[in-house]
């Protein structure tokens, strides 16, 4: 035992000198990639391409915000893509069937809130682990959409929706609308997390749910609130996406988009163990993914090559993190991945 003390102390000292957290590492990787692309890639560092880069990951970023709220509260929401696909799909379908746009939007928002409440109730009151609860409810909502709500899984734009496409197309003051939407979502979520009591409660619950409850924080209603907000943000992301591609490909539920969302959140430095991180982390995670995708598209790298590079960069970030911030009993928490 004696001999271990000095080495571990030395190790601690050594670590203090290079004490980067994951957020900074990812930011460094992002900065490096950005620099390399700017120098070696013609047409990367132009204002127009920067806007395209951001525009392409705006929906992913908005979803990342929703996931961040849940993950900070020590949960996870796998059903986010269902909330992205089904309520906005319902809006398009209802308008196609002759309902008015405001009425369709109202129904979709009500459906989203109901969905968030079911998620929250299952997790907060029935105490089903969030992973399983949202896995099941996501399937349920997507199945409901397929079986009962949509005629086809790509719901097409109809003339009744005209005007609404401005939510995802065109530009406001020269900035593409979807980026503006991402910025608005960032501001709203940052305000919620940092400026309101509810936000503080979410951090408290994520950091230590038992302590939070003992302190008198209304844990269960706050957990329900998290999932309702996440579902609403998911629905908002879906509306931006539908407006941006003039249709709602509800099949997106079957895609791997949810992994990208978790990736943005975790890569940005919001630990799955909860209580840490914020909007800035989501922005950084989104920027890294966006830069990689944009650079590789400009280079016209094949699909397989892109996956390989994506995997390698992510692995690099994770390995660097675990070298610089080794896990031990003190820092490891239940549910940490």
């Amino acid at each position: 035992m004696d001999s271990q003390w000095p080495t571990s102390k030395k190790g601690n000292k050594g670590m203090k000198r290079f004490r980067f957290n994951q957020q900074e590492i990812v930011f460094a990787v992002f900065a490096l990639l950005f620099l390399v692309f700017s120098i070696f890639l013609n047409g990367f560092l132009t204002a127009e391409n920067m806007l395209t880069l951001l525009q392409n990951v705006a929906v992913l970023g908005i979803l990342g915000l929703a996931m961040a709220i849940v993950v900070i509260g020590r949960g996870i929401d796998i059903s986010l893509i269902a909330a992205l696909a089904v309520p906005p799909g319902l809006v398009l379908q209802m308008v196609q069937n002759g309902h008015s746009l405001p009425f369709s939007l109202l129904i979709a928002v009500l459906l989203t809130i109901a969905f968030g409440l079911v998620n929250g109730w299952l997790i907060a009151y029935a105490e089903v682990p969030s992973l399983f609860a949202t896995l099941a409810t996501g399937l349920l909502l997507a199945g409901l959409g397929q079986a009962a709500l949509f005629q086809l899984d790509v719901v097409q734009w109809s003339p009744g929706m005209d005007g609404f496409e401005r939510l995802g197309q065109g530009a406001i003051l020269g900035i593409p609308t979807s980026i503006v939407m991402f910025a608005i979502a960032c501001l709203v979520v940052a305000f919620l997390l940092r400026q309101t009591r509810w936000g503080a409660y979410i951090y408290a619950i994520g950091d230590n749910p038992y302590a939070a409850r003992v302190t008198g924080i209304p844990s269960r209603p706050i957990i329900v609130l998290q999932y309702v907000i996440a579902a609403l943000i998911g629905c908002f992301a879906g509306l931006v996406m539908a407006a941006s591609v003039n249709s709602m490909p509800t099949r997106v539920f079957n895609s791997t988009l949810i992994y990208d969302v978790i990736l943005v959140v975790v890569l940005g430095g919001i630990g799955l163990s909860g209580g840490r991180g914020g909007v800035l982390n989501v922005i950084i995670g989104t920027l890294l993914i966006g830069t990689m995708l944009n650079g590789m598209t400009i280079m016209d790298i094949s699909y397989a090559g892109q996956n390989l590079i994506k995997g390698m960069v992510l692995l690099l970030a994770v390995i660097t993190d675990s070298f610089l911030n080794p896990r031990n009993e003190e820092t490891a928490q239940q549910g940490d991945i």
Partner: protein, 338 residues
């Protein structure tokens, strides 16, 4: 001849018979000898349908068309929706082999997965009809689009539109694992080999995903604002490609060719709006009718499954501004379901 002694008497008897039965025949009608066996061959038979997924225009259209043609003859339908899951589809085909339907209509997710299973099915006495996406096994019938031809005709149109322009084109592929995408790409390559002046600025897979197609196209258009044409591989995905072109303010300047099943909202409406310049349609109702015809023919022929094999490649309908308004270029799913 033995009954009637002489030819004269025989003639007399025949004449008498003719006068007796002649008017009677006209009153009773003549029985067509083949319709009864045809009806019997179809009645109560089961047709199993295994699409890669329901809920999209192609598979819904085929199903509605088949039902309309065959149900009146007492044919029963079983549907096994693989819902984009190749394993689920293979399981469905496997369990169907033991359930022994008379016919299986199979929409392959790729060339290999079902190939062995389909061979087994035909050995077990089930006719297999493959639709739009063939497998490595050649079954009783293939009904579907010729993807190589689609790629060729789309690219020819794009090359023509590029004449006198930058000659820079982009290709938005589907999913790399899908044979339809790979075959179409082959068609594209065939044409490009003849036109060395054409430069491919980008050739990327968007996974049949409109959002990805839009992202890729946006980036490509920013890098190559002088792009003169895009070859897209599916209209459901190329809504995104078209949205990127429109946002860049290049509608009409970038020629966008795509392909699809020709459903009105997904094809004609979008050609009319200028989103697509060309949509090669493999006209789903015609494909359904051809499949139904093949099923009728196979069941009534009594041929041993697997003993005869043939293909029915779909005659493509190029949808452009000229015919997008016509009643016949596109079809409505709601009408087909009636």
């Amino acid at each position: 001849m033995k009954t009637f002694g002489s030819p004269a008497r025989a003639t007399l008897a025949a004449l008498a018979l003719a006068t007796l039965t002649g008017p009677a025949l006209a009153q009773q009608g003549l029985d067509e000898p083949f319709q009864k066996p045809f009806k019997e061959a179809l009645a109560g038979k089961t047709v199993a349908y295994v699409p890669v997924a329901m809920n999209f225009d192609l598979t819904e259209g085929w199903y509605a068309g088949l039902k309309k043609e065959l149900e009146p003859y007492g044919v029963k339908f079983v549907i096994r929706d693989a819902n984009w899951n190749t394993n689920a589809g293979a399981q469905a085909v496997t369990s169907l082999i033991s359930e022994k339907p008379a016919v299986m209509v199979v929409h392959n997710p790729d060339v290999q997965t079902y190939a062995k299973l389909l061979q087994r099915a035909e050995n077990e006495g089930i006719y297999v009809i493959q639709i739009n996406m063939g497998s490595a096994y050649r079954s009783s019938a293939f009904v579907g689009a010729n993807w190589v031809e689609i790629g060729e005709r789309q690219t020819e149109a794009v090359v023509k539109a590029c004449e006198g322009k930058s000659n820079k084109i982009a290709i938005v592929q589907g999913a790399l694992s899908a044979a339809a995408s790979a075959y179409t790409l082959k068609g594209v390559e065939n044409v490009l080999a003849k036109h060395p002046e054409i430069k491919v600025a980008s050739s990327q897979a968007a996974d049949w995903d409109a959002a990805k197609a839009k992202a890729i196209t946006q980036t490509v258009l920013k890098q190559n604002p002088d792009l003169c044409g895009i070859v897209g591989f599916w209209d459901g995905m190329d809504i995104g490609t078209a949205a990127a072109v429109k946002e860049a303010g290049l509608t009409g300047k970038v020629f966008l060719a795509t392909s699809g099943g020709g459903e009105r909202k997904g094809a004609c409406e979008l050609v009319k709006s200028g989103a697509f310049d060309l949509n090669m349609s493999y006209d789903v109702p015609t494909q359904a009718a051809q499949m139904a015809g093949t099923i009728k023919w196979l069941l009534s022929s009594g041929a041993k499954p697997g003993s005869i094999k043939g293909s029915e490649y779909t005659t493509l309908i190029p949808i452009t501004k000229e015919n997008a308004d016509s009643q016949t270029a596109c079809w409505n799913l709601s009408d087909l379901k009636k």
